[in-house]
Amino acid sequence: MVPLVTHPVWGELITGKRQVPPSKVAVNMLIANVRLSYKYDPTETSKHKLAQRMHDFFQKYEKLYQVELEQILERGTHA
């Protein structure tokens, strides 16, 4: 089950507070790029847009990246 876009996990991923293990290429690139985008524009508006992007990605690829999502939700560690 993909968390709602308002769930704190997305914000933690974007800001880097939640560290996640290396994953599939698309997931890695997306995470790295949203973090870089947030670095360039560390505003709440930006964070909300990036959270939407992460949410939409995992919603679309829920079956393909089920394991990766579980790792993010359950095994992600806080920096």
């Binding site: 290429v25 790029n33 990605f57």
Partner: protein, 326 residues
Amino acid sequence: MLNSILGVQEKIVAGKRLLLAGEESLLRQLPGGQWIGGTIPYFMDGSGGVYSESSIFVTELPAYASVAEVREYTTETLPSICVDAPENGFSVVIMPAGSPVHIAYAQNFPRYAGAFLKPVVGWICGVNVGEIGKRRARVFAGPSSKDSDQNAVAMHVALPPTKQAEIDIVNVFQQGPGETITFTTSGFEGSECVINGKPSNLAQYVTSKRIDVRLPLTADYNGSIVNVSIQSVDGKAGLVKFYAPVFAGVEYRFAKPVTDYVAAFNAALPADGPTAIFSCNCILNYLYAGLEGKRTGYLTGPITFGEIAHQLLNQTLVRLLIHDIS
């Protein structure tokens, strides 16, 4: 696989959906149809790396995939490439090396609407390396029989709901233990930078450290190593040119040397998982590792002047996988 021009013509006439790579004179002889292509005379075929001016490398799309559209892109229209793609599927894009679309895509893709949500795979096409600067790379669009050395061509491909596309990379390079390099501006050139926290000049650093510039700069994207290859170092001007852009705020380090590329590649290639329906590898790997006559695992495809796995990469093998998700 490499095909004769006659063989490719027959496939096109039979309605096959094709991704083609070959010499310009060969691609010009092809009839209109469901294909896109780009110039290059280097390939990884089943028997190993090969240079050919008489054969065309053919990637045939599987029967379950349907071509939604073949479209030409300018720098103005390129930002909508993901928006134009079908909801479930993938897009294959080919761009001429050094063209405005190549530069624009490399620098801006992560900010395009739908980036990463819709997989974009492809390559930067090129020419014989001895003819760089004398001849221009070109892309071809089969349905319109148009070609261009300025614009990109993309094939948007739809998949049934039971399948999803995934792009994977195989990179034999790992980050070395050297200094951390960051840039204050993004782009295909680097001069002033910050090395281990100190303002520095990259060209002077490379020269003074005698760094082997066949090794790329590498960045760690959450565990995926993304390469930026060195095109030239001008010590006098203090300028380094790259084959892909560096991005401000990203930490780079030069890669560790690879002593046996083929062995490293075979070790990095996943042993299981679905078969790639498309793959390509970099001209720098082909040249630096001496891949002519050598195989890189079971993967074949065009040799390229840049690889696209969502964003532009260098010195990396890219493969497109299709998963059953039902």
